[in-house]
Amino acid sequence: MAGKNCVGIASDRRYGQYQTTIATDAQKIWKIHDKLYIGLSGLATDVQTFIEKLKFRITLYQLREERDIKPSCFAQLVSTMLYEKRFGPYFVEPVIAGLEGPNNEPYLCAMDLLGCTSTAKGFVVGGTPSEQLYGV
């Protein structure tokens, strides 16, 4: 969610299979750069595959552009990468939080598994209980 020139992003840390909890220290949020974070929920294997591919693309971006990627541009990248798999998608739901521009304007964006973006001012949610989170 967004505050005054700041954003916060949070996730749970459970890795489970049906009713069994296998680990309680799973990472679901990754730092892209100082002013950009992405959270990924959904099928664990696709979360891992997708973040590997994303890190690859961002590393190349860094090397070529010699600057940090803008949150809105990053969101577009994620969306495109997901839609490329339109007929065999990655089962992930990204949530992106960052600060954009010289004034550090909060940028929040959530996506479905096909890459449909929904940008918001106050807060974005994703994951299994996303409807309940809207309530909170």
Partner: protein, 203 residues
């Protein structure tokens, strides 16, 4: 298929300077026990163990594929892969195969390298997680609670073996399908040691 994958019991834990892996020794085909002394823990190299649960063909083919690729890496570069790298390589193979022709293989990969002992939990979808202790198959339903309670960091080998024996006793007393024999292997900085198998009759 999901039923037979779950019928293999795999357990593993990380100790002070070793990783302990155990696996049951039964190979089942529908309701028939084909073999009761099958070794399900493969030696990926001198410092890594790969315990596999799954469909017969996939289990052997996939584990041999990983083993040979690790060997090739060693021959090409002269360097041994770290446990973490081997685990991630294995994960990538499973994840790539997922949407082509998935391997019905769940695994526990344990090894000791320059950073110490580590254990990785791998499922057939290609989900990878580093753990202090782990299980595959129905065994987990019985043993996770025991491991949650009794595992602690830096256990000696004797403590680790005793904890595993407790888990084996539980599986053999509470799991629906008869007594299982277990293969027990340890990997330390010195290499792999095969301990005497635990036989259901003696447990």
């Amino acid at each position: 298929d999901t039923l037979s994958i779950a019928m293999d019991h795999l357990l593993g834990l990380v100790g002070k300077d070793y990783v302990l892996l155990i696996a049951d020794r039964k190979v089942a085909y529908s309701v028939v026990a084909l073999k009761s002394d099958h070794d399900k823990i493969m030696h990926l190299d001198a410092s890594k163990l790969f315990a596999i649960a799954g469909e017969g063909g996939d289990a052997v083919q996939f584990s041999e594929y990983v083993q040979k690729n690790l060997h090739l890496y060693n021959l090409k570069t002269g360097l041994p892969l770290s446990t973490k790298a081997a685990a991630h390589f294995t994960r990538n193979e499973l994840a790539t195969a997922l949407r082509k022709g998935p391997f019905q293989v769940n695994a526990l990969l344990g090894g000791v390298d320059h950073s110490g002992p580590s254990l990785y939990h791998l499922d057939y979808l290609g989900t990878l997680h580093k753990v202090n202790f782990g299980a595959q198959g129905y065994g987990g339903y019985f043993c996770y609670s025991i491991l949650d309670r009794l595992w602690k960091p830096d256990m000696s080998l004797d403590e680790g073996v005793a904890l595993m024996n407790t888990c084996i006793k539980e599986i053999n007393s509470r799991f629906l399908v008869g007594g299982a024999d277990f293969t027990i292997k340890v990997v330390t900085a010195e290499g792999i040691r095969v301990l005497d198998p635990v036989l259901a009759s003696s447990a």
